[in-house]
């Protein structure tokens, strides 16, 4: 549906995007993840034709953005980081304007009503946009993107500035939209991408560093898993008992948790040989009660840090050259 090939964007000497390629299939929710200033917005602005690339191609549903900008743009609904709202218009007037601007060929009144119902802004239709709260403004921005039922939706940080309840609503809304549209959404919040997206692309300093299914992202990035343990008892005895258990690769002693001699341990385990049971019996035998034992799986957060760090060091080396 959306195909991005070898995208490069340079601002003078600064390379904002360095050879980025990816595709988004029809009906997929693609998460675009990266720290601030990684090039997420730049990529989105190029896909939507707001700015041009230095080199590389973007194809939206068969239309190349440079050869057929009008065709490609008519297939995209775009919600930029700051919703492009005319604050001196009412919501209804604004949506009518955007409807005409996009040359949508659908029954006007019914279609705008429908979109308003989807994003739940029916009750504010006749209010001036400047008087709306941030959450409502964001929804009006989304409504504007939905006009004309474009096959591709591009949402740049759609949940920034919303309160937790609104964030959950917005996520559910986007999930619902993902059934009918191809959605590309950017975020620097990992849990958000984890919650909404089928696939995630991580971008750092203008380079693509990871591209995988959300579910398998943390798996693919770590070869072993780990356990977090809190045990009461003398650390040295516990350590040696733990090391003896089959399946335990490494034990690290953490901080003391409470006064009664409870310590925290992080245990690196063999992926194919879960030592949980063995640990339980070993501790029982050692007379050291286990207060807490849970899987210390690599969170997306850690996976993210892991993939973004090496690139940073590589580019530093590049700078010295």
């Amino acid at each position: 549906m959306v195909e991005v090939k070898n995208l490069v964007k340079k601002y003078g000497d600064h390379t904002a995007l360095d050879n980025v390629s990816f595709t988004a299939e029809a009906g997929e929710i693609l998460g675009f993840l990266g720290p601030n200033g990684a090039g997420k917005s730049t990529t989105m602005n190029i896909i939507t034709g707001y700015i041009s690339s230095t080199s590389g191609t973007v194809t939206v549903d068969g239309c190349e953005i440079l050869d057929d900008p009008t065709g490609a743009k008519s297939k995209i609904g775009y919600l930029p980081e700051i919703p492009p709202l005319y604050i001196d218009m009412t919501v209804r007037k604004y949506l009518e304007f955007m409807f005409n601007l996009k040359k949508v060929r659908l029954p006007k009144k019914e279609h705008i009503d429908e979109v308003c119902a989807v994003v739940k802004i029916k009750d504010v239709q006749n209010r001036l946009i400047k008087n709306l709260s941030k959450g409502y403004k964001q929804r009006v921005g989304l409504a504007q993107a939905l006009l004309g039922n474009p096959p591709v939706l591009i949402l740049d940080e759609p949940t920034v500035g919303l309160d937790p309840k609104q964030i959950i609503e917005m996520r559910n809304l986007i999930k619902g939209l993902g059934k009918k549209h191809t959605v590309i959404l950017s975020s620097h919040v990992l849990s958000e991408v984890q919650a909404t997206c089928d696939r995630v692309i991580i971008i750092n300093q203008g380079k693509l560093v990871a591209d995988s299914k959300t579910s398998s992202l943390s798996d693919t990035l770590s070869s072993s898993s780990s356990l977090l343990l809190r045990v009461i008892g003398s650390p040295s005895g516990v350590m040696s008992a733990l090391k003896a258990v089959e399946g335990v690769v490494r034990v690290e002693k953490g901080a003391q948790v409470s006064e009664d001699g409870c310590y925290e341990y992080v245990i690196t385990t063999d992926k194919d040989n879960d030592p949980s049971k063995g640990i339980f019996y070993a501790m029982a035998k050692n007379n050291s009660p286990i207060v807490l034992m849970r899987s210390n799986e690599l969170s997306l957060e850690e996976a993210f840090l892991r993939v973004t760090e090496p690139v940073a060091s590589v580019s530093r080396k590049g700078g010295k050259r």
């Binding site: 707001y50 700015i51 065709g71 743009k73 775009y78 492009p84 005319y86």
Partner: protein, 233 residues
């Protein structure tokens, strides 16, 4: 393009801009008209010639926010990612300002009718004046649209636009002060004043009309370049 014109015209009337510009325009036209009647004259040329500087200095108020505000509010993202060309955006903005300008010029209908009550008006000369005035105003609007595309601040756009209008209206005085022959020749060729003088004297010279149309075309073209340059840099 129709959507942009419709939005801009209604934005002119929801903000105070259209009313202020029209009020100032009507005030000066009325003042010059009253002056004309006071001296028992029915010669509308007095009004049209006096309006030269007013037109140049008032109309930049119409164009000050057309493109500068889009950039500041980030609404240009909606326009530039919509399936329309940059030309359509610029033309839409230009035409919406033209519509307000035509509303301003509508004041000359009752004035002409008042004159017609006393004497048979010289329709040819009046028509020539109206065309001249429209072309003059359209040129400064096109220049104003261009200036508006250069900045994000409507205050800067307004000040620069009015200063430009003032400079254009003073151009002939400047060339007279310089007093070098070839400079005077060049300036009188590009001077709006010299061209406009022909119109209000009742001379419809096709070269003058083409000159104003070229100015409009040039500045609208430059505006599209400015918008595109930002996207390509």
């Amino acid at each position: 393009m129709g959507a942009i014109i419709k939005r801009e015209v209604s934005a002119y009337f929801t903000s105070a801009i259209a009313y202020v510009v029209m009020a100032v325009f009507f005030l000066f036209s009325g003042m010059f008209f009253w002056n004309m009647l006071y001296y028992d004259s029915s010669n509308l040329i007095i009004v049209f010639s006096s309006m030269f500087m007013v037109t140049l200095c008032v109309l930049p108020m119409l164009t000050m926010k057309l493109l500068s505000d889009e950039k500041r509010q980030k609404t240009d993202q909606a326009l530039l990612t919509a399936p329309i060309s940059v030309w359509q955006i610029v033309l839409g903005k230009f035409i919406s300002a033209e519509i307000i300008y035509l509303c301003c010029m509508a004041i000359y209908i009752p004035m002409t009718l008042v004159v017609a009550c006393f004497t048979a008006p010289q329709w040819g000369i009046i028509l020539c004046n109206l065309i001249g005035m429209f072309l003059l105003g359209s040129s400064i609007i096109a220049i104003g649209v261009f200036i508006s595309s250069l900045t994000e601040s409507q205050v800067i756009a307004a000040v620069a636009g009015i200063a430009t209008g003032f400079f254009i209206s003073m151009l002939d005085n400047i060339s007279a002060a310089i007093g070098v022959d070839f400079v005077t020749a060049i300036i009188s060729w590009i001077s709006f004043m010299t061209r406009y003088q022909n119109f209000y004297s009742g001379i419809f010279n096709i070269a003058d009309a083409i000159y104003f149309l070229s100015v409009i075309g040039l500045f609208l073209f430059l505006t599209t370049r400015v918008i595109d340059r930002k996207r390509w840099s």
